[in-house]
Symmetry: C2
Subunit: 196 residues, 2 copies
DNA sequence: GTCTATATTGCGATAGAC
DNA sequence: GTCTATCGCAATATAGAC
């Protein structure tokens, strides 16, 4: 095992195994064995199993910074809403393990939830709510719409589609081929749903 | 510890602890201690820790049977949609731990996911999709709406509101006082979203 | 920088007393 | 039916060789 590979390989297998079974569902023996490294490398590079988990979590949630670009991609609230939807669906394709950490931490938070997970989610919802509020001000959306409720509705629709995959495989195709249709459906449901 | 209490107390603390930290995040020592019973009672009544977890899971998902009553409460698809929304939000209030098991199993499935969890979720989504399809046939909803996509959108909105609580406490009140407003908002967003 | 071997602690399950 | 005590095993972390 060469130097550069060892740390990266541990991150790689840590991402997969922690996503599939959670922090307490995986042991250091299995992690190091899957990485082809020895057990002590986890402590050497990450200070222990929890350190590896924290590093994986931080890497996974790093891409949430992209929400700032989405926010600025258009003055039209509808454009931002479509941008968010497309970005989120694409993100679930490019980061297939992110949703596991996302919902896993919301459901069974680890010590790293307050510093890594909560701020990332809160920022996205806050920005979506601001965008909805702007749309209300512009007269695009109804005045009785509560922006945060609406933001949570949109995030819920998009994320739940992927969250529910394991239980709905028999009901619908989750192939990426359907993504553009899915984006259209959800953007339409949401914007018509809150529209005047 | 009297006989009748022991089993019930183990179910009670098992529900809370498994919900908060998952099957692998809790040990039998902590479970039995919290129940005020001895460690061996878990094996005696449930055949082991996993048996207790399975019993808790089955009890929690038992209330999903109520979906049949919701289904039959009205010929009007809109009435069923409102019934589902109210039932789900009320359920999160009466069963505060159910969502943890629900999303925990979807994210990190245990051996009991296929027999207990997946069938319950699939049935609800299937019924919602049927109701949407009926609405399309009646001309209430648009023909371009895909029933399963729409069903997942509605379930996603409602469930995500509660799932995200830990990360959105600073953004909005999650008090039951707001529930009726929440129901109105989400039913409106959804029915206008898929309406003609 | 990476390994093996080990220290220490905690786990789930169960035997046997009462 | 419930308990205590213990078995056997796996956990994480680390010491020390190379």
């Amino acid at each position: 095992m060469t130097k550069a590979d060892c740390r990266g390989k541990l991150m790689e297998v840590g991402t997969r195994l922690f996503a599939e079974r959670g922090l307490y569902g995986v042991g250091v023996r299995e992690l190091s064995q899957a990485a082809g490294a020895s057990i002590s490398m986890i402590s050497y590079y990450f200070g222990g199993k929890e350190g590896l988990y924290a590093a994986v979590l931080a890497e996974q949630f790093g891409c949430f910074d992209q929400i700032d670009e989405i926010r600025q991609q258009g003055a039209d609230p509808r454009a931002v809403i479509e941008g968010y939807t497309r970005w989120t669906i694409r993100r679930h394709r490019t980061h297939p393990y992110l949703l596991r950490f996302y919902t896993g931490e919301l459901t069974n938070p680890t010590p790293f939830f307050p510093t890594i997970v909560a701020p990332a989610i809160e920022k996205v919802i806050r920005i979506l709510a601001e965008v909805v509020a702007e749309g209300v001000e512009r007269g695009d959306f109804r005045r009785d719409v509560k922006p945060v409720n609406a933001a949570l509705a949109l995030a819920g629709m998009v994320n739940y589609f992927f969250l529910s995959i394991l239980a709905t495989e028999t009901l619908i195709s989750h192939s990426p081929d359907q993504d553009e249709q899915l984006i259209r459906q959800y953007v339409t449901i949401f914007t018509r749903g809150i529209g005047v």
